[in-house]
């Protein structure tokens, strides 16, 4: 009985850990979503996340939408100490593969704020996948803290 209860508790814990970690729509999973913003006077925020295609068929991230502003997807291209952002119009997510958006590399850029976007505000992001459909998830805006 005691063991059974422990098992149930463990299962519940694992389940909650999973749902917090990854949100799924069909074969597509999105996890570790972070919205990062500068401490003051910011006119843009960075969006970082990890996408995983658990299926055997390729998919494409078409866009990310939010009612808080306009999101565009970028990559940072550096050359000889210079860096420039290039737009990523469509982002393929190959079968059984992981695509990461992270600091200093590929990132989402939220700008043209249509309402207050500051530390502690929770935004809904709508990931639009060509095959799997729309995945809506919520993330709280955090301060940019850099890398220790």
């Amino acid at each position: 009985m005691e063991r059974n209860r422990r098992g149930t508790l463990l299962a519940a814990l694992l389940l909650s850990a999973c749902s917090r970690g990854e949100s799924r729509i069909g074969d597509l999973g999105v996890r570790d979503v972070q919205i990062r913003i500068a401490p003051a006077g910011a006119s843009s925020a960075a969006i970082y996340f990890t996408m995983q295609n658990h299926g055997a068929v390729a998919d494409t991230l078409r866009r990310i939408a939010t009612d808080a502003g306009v999101v565009s997807l970028h990559d940072n291209v550096s050359q000889g100490g210079m860096v420039a952002m290039t737009s990523l119009p469509l982002l393929p997510v190959p079968p059984n593969d992981v695509v990461t958006f992270s600091q200093g590399k590929r990132h989402g850029m939220l700008e043209n704020f249509s309402r207050r976007v500051g530390v502690g505000d929770t935004l809904t992001l709508d990931f639009d996948f060509a095959r799997s459909g729309h995945l809506r998830l919520r993330a709280t805006v955090q301060l940019i803290t850099g890398t220790e």
Binding site: A38, A40, A46, H74, E111, I144, T147
Partner: protein
Amino acid sequence: MKRLAVWLSLAAAFACRGGEQGELSPSGFIGAELPNPVPKPDFTFTDSKGKPFSFVAETQGKVTLLFFGYTHCPDVCPVHLANIAAVLDKLSEEESRDIKVVFVTTDPQRDSIAVLDRWVKGFNPTFVGLTGSDSLLAAAQEIVKLLPAIRDSVRDASGGYAVGHAATVIAYTRDGAGRVMYPFGTRQRDWAHDLPLLLAYGAK
């Protein structure tokens, strides 16, 4: 359990560092030391009050960190500044007083003096945000041996534009020589290692 967590995080930190346990420069810096140091560019920018700011005069005798960027930048610029600010917070007051962080905009159209000042000071109230004419800003980057900022000709979805800029912080020692470059990816632990060395550089 607690001890295990500490060991795990240590192991993870070590694993992340991987093979990049790089060599130090001849003077012991983690940053890239220039074989031929460059002089401070003798430019007069415009400060947050609209007043002239002579880069040479205003930073004399201080370790100066010069960085070009723009406030609309979501990723590289704020991360660089957040890292420097976090390390300055940990230095003594005496040390941090002798380090001047100068952020020069590469996007003077959108970065008005007011916008620039608020954004830069959000990281640390001692940070200085500077602007100037297009030709001055281009020439300033040229002088520090970097390519001038080139505006991205491709407009993004919202009609904005991305601004190319030097992602490298140039560190000048107290003698006014630009000696060490810090590319994007320089972490807080790297700054914590190098800032005291920059402060002590050339001291008898």
